[in-house]
Assembly symmetry: C2
Homo-oligomer: 575 residues x 2
């Protein structure tokens, strides 16, 4: 496993990447995930060996109009493809695996991950890159894998998806410890706790660099155990014994699904799964042994009407108010199988991801309008986070006791505050580094420094089309979206005679009484501009377009104080 990569790297070790003394430096290069939450992607480089860890997507910002998602620009790695030994993946969340269908077929290297993570990647590839045959290497926590100059030692961590790992990356210069996405839940549902022992042992032996999850650095205390949610579920099942229970949560939170199955069985209810990703993830997890549920507990969607309301649980997607998800369709009365009424109680077992607040809020309002009861408040303990809070982060820092520290998986403010925590636990300020995407942290035997940067960026994915984050296209979409467009179509002979009346057309322009008058004025203005232009003998198309754009813009602004995109279309015809 990984032997071919190792062999290759040995023959090339001599070519480059060495410091003046002859020993190579270790280079840590985030290509995504720093200064943002999403599209995690990190490269480790030593001599001629590169390894990439994670390759996720990010959901678009509000001003990325029409974009489905964003993936990291990995051209730095593509240009060094022959040196790339593998992609290592820590867990199966979208922000860690979502870019693989685009990136993996192009890089075509082995992938190392745990069984469930590989299963989720395989499902994604099947859909988006069915022709590609991946080279998968299944690892377990505790395994050690040699990849070129690197040796990866995988460490179990507890998170909101099963089978997550962090790792110790042993390099000739020392050991890098990366927590992955983690929390220290001492009573996880699957009994697989974060492996404190290994982290502590690594700390005892000496850690060069710790990279740690910053997502919840703003939260004081400890993140509650997933088991707490199970208790709340029991209470809800007891309280609402005469109603149907509809529970929405993240489709990847299979611990949560397991708890729903367990409580349902205990209260003698059947469970129906709704939402494509919920159905797929539970099927995969059952197949691979991550979720244990008796076949008799589950019923098919078309059979829901055969089960009395108070004997059924609906486990569905839509906890983020996603437009076509199960819960949202139900809230709109558009779901094929579930019609909500005062006989239902809906439990939203999630908190809104930043940016989704309004979608969730609208969904809850619609649910209430269906007449059902809704349980959704933070204080009701129906959801816990998958990320470590301040006390856990300090504990991790204290047991790993790294020489250098780099906070990862966070927006700028999370990184700043995580660095402060590290300093509180005794890491000298000069040894904490605020890396952003593209920065190179260069570590030699005696020091670490941020030295230069590599190309990085965001690739926007819009349907099947990928493009650079080009300011101009997004700006055009914003302009169009805010004010609409007004086209002015002019057909002229080459010597400047109008061959048909000026035609104006608009889209996305606010309806106003003055619209007619405005269009008339625009046409008159354009006709005058054409006359003036014609006096020069021949028509300069570009110049006329420019003038039309300017004058019509003024006119519209004066009438309406709005700024639609003005698009002159001049057709010169030889007659």
């Amino acid at each position: 496993m990984g032997g071919d990569a190792l062999a290759k790297s040995k023959t090339r070790r001599r070519r480059s990447g060495k410091s003046a003394s002859g020993a190579a430096d270790l280079r840590v290069i985030p290509l995504g995930g720093l200064g943002q939450i999403g599209k995690n992607c990190t490269v480790f480089e030593y001599g001629d060996d590169l390894v990439m860890v994670d390759c996720g997507l990010m959901f678009p910002e509000e001003d990325m109009l029409g974009i489905d998602y964003v993936i990291p620009d990995v051209s730095y790695v593509e240009e060094r493809r022959e040196n790339l030994r593998a992609i290592v993946v820590t867990h199966g969340h979208e922000d860690h695996i979502g870019a693989l269908p685009f990136v993996l077929p192009r890089l075509d290297v082995p992938v190392y991950a745990t069984k469930l993570t590989l299963g989720m990647i395989r499902n994604k590839l099947k859909e988006a890159a069915p022709a590609y045959e991946p080279r998968f290497h299944e690892i377990r926590a505790g395994d050690v894998v040699e990849l070129g100059a690197f040796s990866f030692e995988f460490i179990a961590v507890c998170h909101s998806i099963p089978d997550g790992v962090g790792y110790a990356l042993h390099t000739p210069l020392g050991t890098v410890v990366h927590t992955g996405d983690f929390k220290l839940d001492p009573t996880p549902i699957d009994g697989r706790v974060t492996d404190y022992g290994t982290f502590a042992e690594l700390g005892r032996r000496g850690v060069l660099l710790l990279m740690s999850d910053s997502t919840n650095v703003e939260r004081s205390g400890f993140t509650a155990s997933e088991r707490l949610v199970g208790r709340t579920l029991e209470e809800l099942f007891r309280l609402h014994r005469n109603r149907r229970i509809v529970l929405a949560t993240f489709a990847s939170n299979l611990h949560r699904a397991q708890q729903v199955f367990d409580v349902a069985a205990r209260f003698n209810r059947k469970v129906v799964l709704m939402g494509r990703s919920m159905i797929n993830n539970v099927a995969l997890a059952r197949e691979l042994g991550y979720v244990s549920v008796d076949e008799s507990l589950l019923i098919a969607p078309q059979d829901v009407d055969k089960i009395p309301h108070n004997r059924l649980v609906v486990l569905t997607t839509g906890s983020q108010g996603e437009p076509f998800s199960g819960l949202v369709l139900m809230s709109k009365g558009e779901h094929h199988h579930i019609k909500l009424s005062e006989k239902d109680v809906v439990v939203v077992s999630a908190t809104p991801i930043p940016g989704n607040e309004k979608l969730v809020s609208h969904t809850v309002n619609r649910l209430f309008a269906c007449g059902c009861d809704v349980v959704y408040e933070r204080e009701r303990q129906i959801h816990v986070s998958g990320h470590a809070a301040q006390e856990e982060l300090k504990m991790m820092l204290s047991i790993v006791r790294p020489r250098y520290f780099v906070p990862v998986h966070g927006e700028y403010r999370h990184l700043v505050r995580h660095n402060q925590l590290a300093q509180d636990t005794g890491v000298p300020a000069r040894n904490t580094f605020l890396l952003l995407n593209g920065d190179v942290l260069q570590i030699s035997a005696d020091k670490a420094q941020i030295k230069g940067n590599v190309p990085f960026g965001s690739i926007l994915v819009d349907g099947r089309v990928m493009g650079e984050l080009e300011g101009s296209v997004m700006q055009e979409r914003r302009d169009l979206s805010e004010e609409g467009i007004l086209t002015v179509s002019v057909v002229l002979s080459t010597d400047g005679v109008l061959l048909r009346p000026v035609v104006t057309e608009s889209r996305g322009f606010l309806h106003v009484d003055m619209a007619e008058e405005l269009h008339r004025e625009v046409r008159e203005t354009v006709m005058k501009l054409v006359e003036t232009a014609a006096r020069k003998g021949s028509i300069d198309e570009e110049d006329l377009a420019q003038k039309i754009r300017g004058r019509v813009k003024d006119l519209v602004r004066r009438h309406t104080r709005s700024y639609p995109v003005i698009m002159p279309l001049i057709s010169l015809v030889e007659v």
Copy 2:
């Protein structure tokens, strides 16, 4: 005061609006603010008398592209303008006064409000409707004003802006109590507590209907006192005695401003105001006596560099991450007077209004990137809400003890839950009404019922243009924003000969390598469609446009899986 309205109404009392028995019904009609937070506007109608209470704006939903704000459709009142006795305004927040510049000049009736509220309305009118001369009537808490069949008794309430009132509306059928926006802060900064005594006395005498603020019905317990923020400010001033302090808050929260002035004076710092609305509101409040600050404490923006960092406080707008506000300009390094650095601590004394979370988050990230320290977390007690939480709402219900209850000022879920609270305090479920905008609550001597509805709606304001919420325009803007636009311009002779090559142009289309090829294919397809059309002898313009739209759409979708707006422009020329 109000005499002319009263006289008018008397002469017309007989005409309409009576029930079969000869006695009129009371009609309570929300035109805005129910099922949403924003654009509050309520109409009370009895016989021939109408009074409108509040007339606010609402900030647009995310899918209202390019809209500046939304105001209520008050055509129901406009059509009955001769019966409208007055507009009563409870306090000076935008969601209660923001539509007045549009609505008041058209309705032209007297306005009743407290001194500060009138001052804020006057400032808005000066800007947006300078020619209009309003008829203002200043009232104070405790005043009673006769308006037709109605008698308004104003009641002091504590809120996040000074000089707010609720009211008892005495009608021939009984008394309606409306809390206005309120909380029960027992230690307000200006000493003007919510007048429990009057609410209790009204309750003792018997209240027909209570309408109560639902904003914070989801929060358990009591809303903390504004005074708590003062304590926190003191601690921050003590902790950061060597830094400049920049504090951002709502420009209308003049209690907060007062506390900043007080603490600054105590710690021997000067204060500079930044942001137009902060400067205007503080000026107005000082002029009218709502804020007390020694002239020597304030310095002008251009003088900030004369004051040492640790002797200055900057009080600014921008706590919601508003694009051109003081704090946001500072965070971008674009502010004329304030450059932030590690010598600054920024205090964001507000919580994000739902929908603003991302704007605030981006601002905080940029502030950290300036090197300054930032205090922004909920748990740090640097902000308190202006609205009553559950325990306060229950207390209000318990002391007013109404026969009927209507929750107001809330989204659907808030109204549902507030009705539940009312039922918990003993109001029978059949006497609680979930009114939505446009619903008519009709109250007679022996019963209340939701009976029919009146025209209502949202007027979108985009610059100077107002329009109905027309699905088509917003849908066009959404289509444009998500996929861009592709125009196809064809110039033909009337018998179908192309007079110049087909020209395609796009805006907001994602840049792709295939763009050139796609444009070529589009042109070829269009040429073929033209040829086919020409074979029929004469060109049917509409039919050709239809065909171009369909075929080009297919072509683009197949190439890119995206759906730009296709806009064919066909010019037929007689040659």
